[in-house]
Assembly symmetry: C2
Homo-oligomer: 150 residues x 2
């Protein structure tokens, strides 16, 4: 009773390499959408494999699933997107990457300037600039990196 264009979650898992639980999780977060069959089981479209592949690639590039969800919004759910639609998204990610790279390079250069100077104190070193940081890659709370005076 499996229509040709309807994949079970297990099949999608096998084809993408994702775990079943991860796919359910992605659906919960709105990255993919499925329909249910008469027995209440999920059925995915073939095009969702590509969609999920994109999710995995974007994660490798270091994007959060929230960000990826944002990026995927313009794509149609449950219909294969066109090349143009994909490329728009890719270009968007490119710019983001570009920015992260240059931030990192700036920081590295500053570190180079500082090696051996022994000036490691926050007010002098110039390396410590909370504003343009590589921050927010870590996880939990990190509420106040800003200035004092509450």
């Amino acid at each position: 009773m499996q229509k040709p264009n309807q994949l079970s979650i297990g099949e999608v898992a096998r084809r993408t390499g994702l775990s079943v639980s991860a796919i359910r999780f992605y659906e919960e977060r709105g990255l993919v959408l499925s329909v249910r069959n008469s027995g209440g089981q999920r059925r995915f479209a073939r095009s969702d494999i590509r969609r999920l592949s994109f999710v995995m690639i974007a994660q490798q590039l270091g994007f959060s699933i929230e960000r990826i969800g944002e990026a995927l919004k313009p794509l149609p759910l449950h219909r294969a997107p066109t090349k143009t639609e994909w490329s728009k998204i890719a270009r968007n990610f490119h710019d983001d990457l570009e920015q992260r790279i240059s931030t990192l390079i700036r920081l590295r250069d500053k570190l180079d300037g500082c090696i051996g100077c022994g000036c490691l104190s926050l007010d002098q070193c110039g390396l410590y600039n909370p504003a343009d940081s590589a921050q927010r890659l870590g996880t939990g709370p990190r509420y106040v990196i800003s200035d004092e005076m509450p």
Copy 2:
């Protein structure tokens, strides 16, 4: 009863901009060491301010506290480190940064090559290579990105 070279945790917090709880946490993780006064309160050395500043800088560069702890191991606890000692560590971080940058650049270039090609599938795209990824920047479990067959 505060000796000149003995700072309370509150003072260290004020001078570094860290929160008191963060400093306690760092101590627990071995990034700094304190002694206790007669009443059981922590006393830090002046040199710990610079040590903690370094921790903050390293975090901006995107290093985990575990990694930072490793890096700080060769430094003497509770004695101001020499310039040579500092610069050795900085150089170490530099190499690490260098590597992260080139990985990111490689990925960006691949993305550039892919923009608009519409080939987003894991086996074709060349963008999806779990091995040299920007991975492990995210947080929780991420046990299996590898191949199947358990």
